[in-house]
Amino acid sequence: MARNDLLGSLGFLVLKTLSQAGPLHGYGIVLHIQRASDEFLRVEEGSLYPALHRMEQSGWIDSEWAFTETNRKAKYYKLTAVGKKELQEVEKSFEQLVKGVRAMLRYA
């Protein structure tokens, strides 16, 4: 699907979260990113949902309504096969980017 809208860092974080923590609702994703990044990264909550919607439409994630532990109805997202492949690719290119940036920093 439309690759030119390269997955931004938010999308990357969401995919990674879902691959690490399994199916989660939007709020859960926000909490997970916050916790896993040692409170370094804070997700702008209003931007999360358009991104989720876009990823769902691109077939990377799938959604389903289910009940939370507190018995509240919420939409749970999980990674699809396409999403997993996408994540691998993005991870790879991210690593390359990081390597490249490090090399630049060292060179300086």
Binding site: M1, G46, K75
Partner: protein, 878 residues
């Protein structure tokens, strides 16, 4: 999934809307719960949650915008890509688009015409319950006009109709409208008081007739059609209530009809039926009325028919002398207006469906070929990770572009064809002008034909998807260009069907053209060229039939005309040649065994001037023609035609025979036959010459025939001035040459022949495209094989033969199937054929030869290419 979901999301916004709202709400509430758990007060927690989240409505809008953006983006991309691919194979694209355009354009135009003429509802209220009621007589084909007293009895005794109305007025009923400075001959109709209310026609100004207008001493009132109001009075509203002069009698204008609602459509001035001559209103002979009835709701045609037949049987018992053989015939109004066109329209529709089928199977074939070429591409791309859905939307957009361009071009084609169809149908005698005007581009029809094409295209356009082998290796194996076995078979079957249908259409077209050729070769019995016809109606009561004043007027006119150098002779009759006379009479051959009154023979009569036979160029076979003294003495002499002599006077000497006329009166007149003349095809050239009786004399109304030695139309001013010299206010009308009458009478057959000829060419062209594409593709596919064969010693001729054999197989099968279908189907068209058998061997030959020639031409080009393949190139290419 995503494209469809995105698009469907765009259309079902409220559902998506609710879902997003619920999701955002649950997010905010979970945050609030957690914050309360961490010790915040509820209000504080809510404030914090909303603050962190931002404006939920804006967020919702951003989510929905994602759908629209993604949709547009991917549609745009698919379209750009599809265009690029199509321009790369421009030959394929252009062929497919043109095929679609021809299919959609031709079918839409013809379907639109058929819809307007056959299926559209008439512009009257409850039009489908309006029934024409006629009298029948054993000697008359179809229905005949109705006697006034019979009409009155029907009206009183029937129980099936809400209303029964009558009118009298064919296109030849006219009166002189006397204006301030000149006269006009106008079409008049006598109508019963309820005619307009039966039709549900409301006046545009004033009123139409009411029941009082049916009373014997009704006022002289007149209703005008909107068209006549414009033509003769320039749309002046003050004409309402004014008196106008028709045939020297003054009538008060009481109403003007709305445009397009005139019935009968040729009518201009309507007067109450009660003003009809008193004699017709009191005798059971003479049949001049057209009767309409509107069925009561819930009563069907069969019940009404039974009801009317009971009444007719009762009248036959009470009045055996006049009504013994008179039955009734009920025909729905629509049938009556378009019934005679039905076989023509059904044949055209049939051909159109067949041509549409050929067009669709052609496109299907093209797409099948393309599918096979794309199998490899599809497999490779799938292996490289393209989703099936992605490819699906791509092939879909390619197909859609072809369909849309084909559809647009087809619509333009249809729009250009419709005016031509209107003109051709307008020249068809007996078709209502208001129906012709209603032939418009029919949008539902356009949608149906485009839908059929779209369906075909989508069905076959998506084939590459299903044909792709699941394993990449299968399709990439060198030399194996996909398995062509089953697909090759389905392509051959498709092309054979196409050829079979082309044979049927070609056969039909040839049949109709040959039938038309036979029709124009018919000798009408007289020379139609250099013959001018025009009508005159002298004002009554100043003139009356067969009176000295009338005779004198016409004799002086003919004398005047003969002095013109361009005019060879002139004569009068009562009906334009090649058109049936409405005047018929019962008679009995003197000396023949008496027959029951109802079984008396009945034939057409014509009052003619002495010069009529010479002017027409009829041959005198026996005896003599009329002389001036026969007219002046109102002699009781009769001239008959050969058909009459054969049917009624065989074995006798016509010149010693006499005929009894006025047989139903108490004093039959015995009239001797003084001559026999050659036949004319006065019921139209497609029917056999009918028996006719000629009487000497001039009527108030006359058809003046003028034989010229120059262009007949150039003499019109001269004729006009000759009439004006005799009477300045006397109009002449219906001026036409007999050649025009002839070609008008053949217009319908010509139109059908031409249209079917076009369809035949269309079918041939499409079949040629189909055959070419199949063979060309097959040659491309077998390039390597052919290379190997040549390398192993096959000659060019061998290769050529091999390709031709392939084409011969499916062409032969198609021709065979086509022949069977053509023989089976042609009898449906036999109603349209004139002296041509529905299994005419010449037409069959033409169809076969035409198709085989086209097939050969379509094959030779690619076969030649195959024969010149360089084996080294072909084998290396892999």
């Amino acid at each position: 999934m995503s494209l469809f979901r995105r698009i469907s999301n765009l259309f079902s916004r409220s559902r998506v809307d609710r879902e997003i709202e619920a999701e955002l709400k649950s997010h905010i509430e979970m945050r609030i719960e957690d914050s309360i758990g961490e010790g915040m007060s509820p209000e504080e927690a809510r404030r914090d949650a909303v603050l962190r989240f931002g404006n939920p409505t804006a967020t919702k809008e951003r989510i929905m915008a994602v759908d629209a953006a993604l949709t547009l983006e991917s549609i745009g991309m698919d379209m750009r890509y599809a265009f690029r691919r199509l321009t790369k194979s421009a030959g394929f694209a252009v062929t497919a688009i043109l095929t679609f355009a021809l299919g959609i354009g031709a079918t839409t135009a013809i379907f639109s015409a058929a819809y307007a003429l056959l299926l559209r509802s008439l512009p009257f209220q409850h039009a489908d319950r309006i029934i024409g009621i006629y009298e029948t007589h054993p000697q008359i084909v179809g229905g005949a006009e109705v006697n006034f007293l019979d009409y009155q009895d029907w009206r009183r005794q029937q129980t099936s109709f809400e209303q029964v109305a009558a009118y009298s007025g064919t296109s030849s009923d006219t009166m002189s409208l006397v204006m301030a400075d000149h006269g006009e001959q106008v079409h008049t109709v006598l109508a019963s008081g309820n005619l307009f209310s039966l039709l549900g026609v409301a006046p545009f100004l004033g009123r139409t007739f009411v029941a009082q207008d049916d009373s014997p001493n009704a006022n002289h009132v007149v209703v005008l059609s909107a068209e006549a109001w414009q033509r003769y009075f320039g749309g002046d509203r003050s004409v309402l209530g004014r008196s106008i002069d028709l045939n020297g009698v003054s009538y008060t204008v009481i109403g003007i009809l709305a445009p397009g609602s005139a019935y009968p459509a040729t009518g201009e001035f309507w007067m109450p039926l009660s003003l009809m001559d008193k004699e017709s209103q009191t005798r059971r002979v003479g049949h001049t009325l057209d009767v309409l009835g509107r069925l009561k709701p819930g009563v069907d045609l069969a019940e009404a028919r039974a009801d009317m037949q009971t009444i007719a049987a009762r009248l036959a018992q009470i009045y055996p002398a006049t009504n013994r053989n008179i039955g009734v015939l009920l025909t729905p109004l629509r049938e009556q207006l378009v019934g005679s066109l039905r076989p023509a329209i059904l044949t055209l529709l049939g051909s159109v469906v067949l041509v549409l089928f050929i067009a669709c199977s052609n496109v299907a074939n093209l797409l099948l070929v393309r599918a096979t070429i794309h199998v490899r591409e599809v497999t490779v791309r799938q292996a490289l990770g393209a989703s099936r859905l992605r490819m699906f939307t791509q092939y879909l957009s390619e197909t859609l572009i072809l369909c849309v361009l084909g559809g647009v071009l087809g619509t333009v084609l249809a729009a250009l064809t419709l005016p031509l169809l209107r003109i051709t149908f307008a020249h068809t005698a007996g078709t209502d002008p208001s129906l012709i005007q209603s032939i418009q581009l029919n949008v539902p029809v356009l949608l149906v034909t485009s839908g059929v094409c779209l369906f075909t295209a989508i069905l076959f356009g998506l084939l590459p998807m299903t044909k792709a082998p699941s394993k990449l290796a299968d399709s990439l194996r060198p030399g194996d260009r996909g398995s062509t076995g089953r697909q090759g078979w389905s392509r051959s079957a498709l092309i054979s069907t196409e050829i079979a249908i082309a044979i049927v259409v070609l056969f039909l077209g040839t049949l109709l053209i040959r039938s038309f050729q036979k029709l124009i070769q018919v000798d009408p019995g007289f020379r139609t060229d250099h013959l001018l016809s025009l009508e005159i109606k002298l004002p009554e009561p100043r003139f009356e039939d067969q009176t000295p004043a009338t005779n004198h007027f016409y004799e002086r006119l003919i004398e005047k005309l003969k002095q013109s150098p361009g005019i060879l002779s002139a004569g009068t009759t009562i009906t334009v040649p090649l058109q049936p006379s409405h005047a018929m009479t019962r008679f009995l051959i003197a000396g023949a065994a008496p027959v029951a009154p109802g079984a008396l023979p009945m034939e057409q009569i014509r009052y003619v001037s002495p010069d009529f036979f010479h002017t027409m160029g009829l041959e005198l076979k026996q005896g003599r023609t009329f002389e001036q003294k026969d007219v002046e003495n109102s002699s009781n002499f009769i001239i008959v035609n050969q058909a009459f002599a054969q049917r009624y006077l065989s074995g006798k000497d016509p010149l010693t025979s006499s005929i009894l006329m006025n047989v139903l009166s108490s004093h039959p007149e015995k009239m001797p036959v003084i001559g026999v003349v050659s036949n004319t095809h006065d019921l139209g050239v497609e029917t056999e010459a009918e028996p006719e009786l000629y009487f000497p004399g001039f009527g108030v109304h006359a058809v003046l025939l003028i034989r010229t030695n120059t262009d007949p139309k150039s003499l019109v001013p001269e004729v006009r001035s000759a009439v004006r010299d005799l009477d300045p206010s006397q109009p002449i009308y219906h001026i036409e040459t007999i050649d025009e009458v002839l070609s008008e009478s053949l217009a319908r057959q010509k139109m059908i022949a031409v249209l079917l000829g076009i369809f035949a060419l269309l079918a041939l062209t499409l079949a040629a495209i189909g055959i070419y594409s199949v063979i060309a593709y097959s040659v491309t596919q077998r390039r390597r094989e052919i290379g190997v064969r040549i390398a192993l010693g096959a000659t060019r001729a061998d290769i050529l033969l091999m390709v031709l054999r392939e084409a011969a197989t499916f062409t032969g099968m198609g021709v065979l199937a086509g022949l069977i279908a053509a023989f089976a189907g042609a009898h449906f068209a036999s109603a349209l054929l004139f002296k041509t058998s529905a299994s005419d061997p010449t037409s069959i030959c033409v169809a076969i030869v035409g198709l085989v020639m086209i097939a050969t031409m379509a094959t030779v080009l690619p076969a030649g290419r195959a024969a010149t393949i360089d084996p080294m190139d072909a084998i290396r290419a892999e």
